[in-house]
């Protein structure tokens, strides 16, 4: 079972919910949590575990071999992303712009642009007493999150069995990285806040899930801090509200220290139970 935890905007409590939910579920089941917010991974701050595996993640980019190159310019013409250009009698490759489509490489008449791996980030696998945790971390200045996210998902698919509950902490927003983190999932939990910002972002996230034909439901975090807009919207659209987590300064304080919330705050644990029951029933 794969569950993605997403939100239209950052700071709605997505990480709080995924870390707490995974720890809560791990009491009774095999659980792996993956932090796919590769630009800002910080689930690790809430989970103490031992590093059991790490590897560099690469993407494939062409590398110019000048010996056989006839300077025909075909590669420059072929690349739609301006990642390879001909300057004088040299071919320059800009790895940040490359989408690894292989076109320049495979269409080069002299095989002068072999695809080579280039590091874009890291994958780390930690283990706590009963929870596995995997994070992807993009190197600073790298522009493309998607290849790294897909490698983390691949790693999890390989390493863990069908019966393991897989929780994906998705990046914020509604663009490519979120799609990559959501599309293979059985269910998406959208975390939002009951404010006009939360509502605006939730609507965008809902549109995205509908395009992807994803099953999804909403968790309202910091309930009571704003207005009723989110609830009214969900009711009107027939979107299930899985749980409402009350606004509580103590949650913010525990969060600020990097501590888990549910062992200390009863209402939070109740909400996790509701989420667990709901997703259990979705299958």
């Amino acid at each position: 079972m794969k569950i993605t935890i997403a939100s239209g905007k950052g700071g709605t409590g997505k990480t709080t919910i995924s870390t707490n939910l995974s720890s809560y579920l791990a009491k009774e089941a095999d659980v792996v949590l993956a932090d796919l917010d590769v630009e800002e991974p910080n689930s690790k701050l809430f989970i103490e575990g031992n590093l059991i595996f790490e590897k560099a993640c690469d993407k494939m980019v062409p590398q110019w071999k000048k010996e056989e190159c006839t300077l025909c310019g075909n590669c420059e013409e072929v690349c739609r992303f301006n990642a390879v250009i001909k300057v004088g009698d040299e071919i320059l490759v800009f790895p940040e712009l490359c989408h690894s489509c292989y076109a320049c490489s495979e269409l080069c008449p002299t095989e002068s642009l072999p695809m080579m791996p280039q590091k874009i980030g890291e994958l780390k696998h930690f283990k706590t007493e009963n929870l596995d945790f995997v994070e992807g971390r993009l190197d600073i200045g790298e522009e493309q999150a998607v290849p790294l996210i897909s490698q983390v998902i691949e790693y999890i698919d390989e390493k863990f069995s069908q019966d393991t509950i897989k929780l994906f902490d998705a990046p914020p927003g509604t663009s490519c990285p979120v799609i990559e983190a959501s599309r293979g999932s059985d269910f998406v939990i959208l975390v939002t806040e009951s404010t006009p910002f939360g509502l605006n972002d939730l609507k965008l996230a809902v549109e995205t899930m509908r395009v992807l034909c994803q099953k999804f439901g909403v968790v309202i975090n910091r309930h009571g801090i704003g207005d009723n807009g989110v609830e009214e919207y969900c009711n009107a659209e027939g979107i299930p509200i899985i749980a409402k987590i009350p606004n509580d300064r103590r949650v913010a304080e525990l969060y600020s220290k990097g501590e888990l919330i549910y062992p200390k705050i009863q209402e939070f644990e109740t909400a996790l139970k509701q989420i667990a029951q709901f997703v259990g029933g979705v299958k």
Partner: protein, 292 residues
């Protein structure tokens, strides 16, 4: 013209509330740009009127002409993005997976593949309730290239600021450390880092500052919710000192942010509060830095 970009690495630090409040204070003397195109929110607080809209095209997707396609499978063979599938004995492109690389169209023996430009979002110019002009955008769902849309928002906002001889350009930056935030930072005079006193706030501050530093942009910082965790606040202050980042102010945990938001008001309009005074002073301080 002086440009300040407000960024936070992580969301939920109050970044947009600060940006909107500064914009409200500066009135028609500033141009506003919302570069958080993935989850644009500023228009709600500043009552943008969406007076001008333009489609934003970027990237392309492959479209197979089924009449001419001979189902040879060449395209599927070369596509590295698993975007071509055989459905009901016909090769078809999944538009969400297609990266628009053109490889398939170059190898199709019967030229049955067309590349079509895609609308990926909307670009807007608005007047706000603060009487300032605002440049913003909305990225379509399942779209990519938000970096390009951010760059467009930034460039148009810059042009507008110069053309109308405004003193300040206030930019609500993009989240993360990837392509969009790089686009939103480029060319700024000052990066205002809004962080909060949480372990993840500090962690993200350090990551995003690396980026700011690599662009050689002067940085200043506001610590929000500093009283949530005094120890982390001290760590943040130590970090700022070490990196020579100006600390503008520290702001206590305050539900006024959410309350003002729920009425679609900036902190400045919401009524007199210590928070309002603090934000007014902060903006003055930031202006002094920008002018010096």
């Amino acid at each position: 013209m002086k440009e300040v970009v407000i960024i936070s690495g992580k969301g939920g630090t109050g970044k947009t509330s600060f940006a909107a409040s500064f914009a409200y204070l500066e009135k028609e003397n500033a141009v506003i740009a919302d570069c958080d195109v993935d989850a644009a929110n500023m228009h709600l607080l500043l009552e943008a009127d969406f007076r001008y809209q333009e489609d934003f095209y970027s990237g392309e997707i492959a479209v197979i002409d089924e009449e001419n396609c001979i189902n040879c499978g060449e395209c599927k063979e070369v596509c590295r993005f698993d975007a071509i599938h055989v459905i009901d004995d016909q090769h078809r492109v999944d538009p969400i997976s297609c990266e628009g690389c053109w490889y398939c169209s170059r190898v199709c023996p019967v030229e049955a593949i067309d590349m079509k430009t895609q609308k990926v979002g909307d670009f807007y110019l608005s007047m706000t309730k603060a009487q300032s002009e605002m440049v913003h955008a909305k990225l379509g769902f399942a779209a990519e290239n938000s970096g390009k849309l951010v760059a467009k928002v930034k460039n148009e906002a810059k042009k507008l600021t110069l053309a109308n001889k405004k003193e300040f350009l206030i930019v609500d930056g993009s989240p993360g450390v990837g392509c969009p935030v790089i686009s939103s930072l480029s060319g700024a005079d000052l990066a205002l880092l809004v962080t909060e006193a949480t372990v993840s706030g500090l962690h993200d501050l350090k990551r995003v500052y690396k980026l700011v530093k690599s662009f050689n942009i002067e940085a200043a910082c506001i610590i929000n919710k500093y009283d949530l965790n005094i120890d982390v606040t001290k760590e943040i202050e130590a970090f700022l000192e070490e990196e020579d980042i100006t600390l503008i102010t520290k702001i206590a945990y305050d539900e006024t942010f959410a309350k003002a938001l729920s009425q679609a008001k900036t902190i400045i309009e919401y009524g007199d509060s210590s928070l309002k005074t603090e934000i007014e002073k902060s903006w003055q301080y930031i202006k002094n830095i920008l002018r010096s």
